[in-house]
């Protein structure tokens, strides 16, 4: 078991290393010279050469990669080409704001979808199942910006309960941002839950057809007990992976939703830095996303192992 955990950790580190190389190479491959971009088109060749020297752009790519990764490991991602501030601090500030949305989204989506998925699974092919399945099909068929727009129409325009746009900058306090968190989180949760509901439903149906559930029923246990003690733990297991994948998807999803609400989070930073070609920030965001993705998958795999005795003892799994 220990060897499995170690192997899994090693592969996670390997994946992270590879994706950092990919991110670095992709950003390097972007056309246009960074020094010319900073100084503008009218800069003298001397000034450009001086800045190139100062930024170390003339050194070989692998040397710059190792400098970048060494800095990144210490939390230093270089300086933003636009604001001139440290990238690490800036990304962390926006990321913190997004984490607020992400936390609420995951709470909403996971609890809501597990309850709905289990209900649909238990009432298979009856009206609650049809209703839940139809709604989740629609949920996965509309993009986030549509859900967000409809929510704004309902809960900011028709019923003025929540703000439609955030007027604060990235350094707003949690208290200032809190009223603005709910609508973006709900929009993301709807899309995210649609996938988890389907997964939870399928695994509940599988589990309820299992022999040990029949045995538990024959023992005379109530349906509630059968579901909570037997069906729920086994149904959770395959759902875990989908949840992990979805948490990783969140970082892309927030890009759209945050722009609808003008919420000062990582998605908004991503879009503005792509527009301004702020390469150090793009690199940092991509690396942070990769870390989040790899950690989520790692957590799902290790969690699945902890919950499933068969995986725990067999050792070699993928």
């Amino acid at each position: 078991m220990l060897s499995f955990v170690l192997r899994r950790l090693a592969s996670a580190v390997g994946t992270l290393f590879l994706s950092s190389v990919l991110v670095f190479l992709a950003v390097q491959a972007l056309p246009g010279d960074v020094a010319t971009q900073i100084l503008g088109k009218d800069a003298t060749p001397d000034a450009v050469a001086a800045l190139r020297d100062q930024l170390g752009l003339d050194r070989p790519a692998w040397e710059r990669y190792f400098d970048w990764i060494k800095g990144a490991l210490h939390g230093d991602f270089g300086t933003s080409l636009v604001s001139g501030k440290g990238v690490g601090g800036e990304v962390a500030m926006y990321l913190g704001n997004s984490a607020l949305i992400a936390l609420v989204t995951v709470l909403f989506a996971v609890t809501g979808s597990l309850v709905l998925g289990i209900l649909a699974g238990l009432y298979r092919d009856r009206w609650p199942d049809h209703l839940i399945s139809t709604v989740s099909l629609i949920g996965m068929s509309v993009p986030e910006f549509v859900v967000a727009t409809v929510l704004v129409l309902c809960f900011s325009v028709a019923l003025p309960w929540f703000p439609a746009v955030v007027l604060y900058g990235p350094d707003a306090s949690v208290g200032q941002l809190l009223p603005a968190v709910w609508l973006p989180a709900l929009a993301l949760a709807v899309v995210m839950a649609a996938y988890i509901v389907r997964m939870a439903r399928t695994s509940v149906i599988d589990v309820m057809a299992g022999e040990y559930v029949t045995t538990a029923r024959l023992k005379g246990l109530s349906t509630w007990r059968v579901v909570t003690r037997h069906a729920l733990p086994s149904a959770l297991l395959p759902t875990l992976h989908v949840i992990a994948l979805n948490v990783a998807w969140l970082i892309g999803g927030v890009a759209v939703v945050e722009n609808v609400f003008n919420y000062p989070g990582i998605g908004k930073l991503m879009l503005s830095s792509v527009q301004n070609r702020d390469l150090p920030i793009i690199q940092a965001i991509a690396l942070v996303s990769a870390v989040v993705y790899v950690c989520c998958n790692l957590a799902a795999d290790l969690g699945a192992m902890a919950l499933n005795p068969r995986l725990r003892t067999r050792g070699r799994t993928r």
Binding site: L18, S19, S141, V150, G252
Partner: protein, 296 residues
């Protein structure tokens, strides 16, 4: 359903595959409904000039922001353009780019996935690691970077989508191909000394057609969503191109004045993706491909 051949025996291409597909279609109402919805969208996109007499990009300042009327069934937007005409023409961009992008992605992913399953060994390991690394970068970020670097042409968007979705397709196809590779006829083909490419094309591919078709329908729904999000953010279709994502972005601020200008493209977009999802669901159920289990 009982007439379907579920054991992976070599399926001859041609009339048999066609009858098989036709039988599946008839047996699954979900797939029929889904494909019908998609077909209607394709027809509307192709026949748009016959269905409306309005030019989707002609401005008319004197008729801006009108509600639905006999002249303009879905009203007009802030530039006085007919909303219905823009919705009808809007499918052209969405369908054209999405179908091309999905075809390229699924074709590339299938080749990569099959190659990984056939070769195995270190090739499979290295490829798996690289695909994992690509997967760990959010597709919307990859898309934004490629588009800002190379411009917002349809060809660039197709390339960007291929980059971010090929790993996922490759992973699913590899899983399906691994079940075929140990079969005797693949071993026999290897013993005959056939090349990897010819084994892939003649032995493996015909036996995983169902997985690839389901993959296509499902990825198409994702690609449509992604492209519309891209347009919404201002990185996809260039104004004044009629495109659903772009229309929502343009008309969102006037949603209290002319709600139809935002709702009409939303309905068009949602029905297309529902159709694609229904097709994917129906086909996967009829063919016994476990779509939900294969990671979304």
């Amino acid at each position: 359903m009982t007439t379907l051949d579920t054991t992976p025996a070599a399926v001859a291409p041609g009339p048999r595959a066609a009858t098989r597909a036709w039988r599946t279609l008839r047996s699954s109402r979900t797939a029929t409904v889904g494909l019908a919805i998609v077909a209607v969208h394709v027809l509307i996109a192709l026949l748009a000039p016959l269905l409306t007499s309005y030019d989707p990009i002609a401005n008319d300042a004197s008729h801006a922001l009108l509600g639905p009327s006999a002249d303009h069934w879905a009203g007009t937007d802030q530039y006085g353009r007919d909303v219905l005409a823009r919705v009808l023409y809007g499918g052209r961009y969405a369908l054209g780019v999405s179908v091309t992008a999905t075809l390229v992605t699924v074709a590339l992913g299938t080749v990569v996935g099959c190659a990984a399953a056939l070769r195995g060994g270190w090739f499979d390991d290295v490829l798996g690691r690289i695909l994992d690394a690509v997967l760990s970068i959010p597709s919307i970020l990859a898309l934004l970077v490629v588009v800002t670097a190379l411009g917002t042409g349809p060809a660039v968007i197709v390339l960007a989508i291929a980059v971010s979705y090929v790993p996922q397709v490759a992973r699913v196809v590899r899983g399906a191909a691994l079940a075929v590779v140990p079969m005797d006829y693949v071993t026999a083909a290897r013993a005959r000394g056939e090349s990897t490419w010819s084994i892939l094309r003649r032995e493996v591919l015909p036996n995983i057609t169902d997985v690839v078709c389901v993959e296509f329908a499902m990825r198409a729904s994702w690609v449509v969503l992604l492209i519309s999000s891209l347009s919404f953010l201002g990185f996809g279709a260039d104004p004044p191109t009629p495109d659903w994502g772009l229309m929502v972005a343009e008309n969102r601020t006037a949603i209290t004045v002319v709600p139809m200008a935002s709702l009409a493209p939303i309905i068009a977009l949602a029905t297309l993706v529902v159709g694609l999802n229904l097709a994917a669901d129906g086909l996967s159920k009829a063919w016994g491909v476990d779509r939900i289990r294969e990671g979304l």
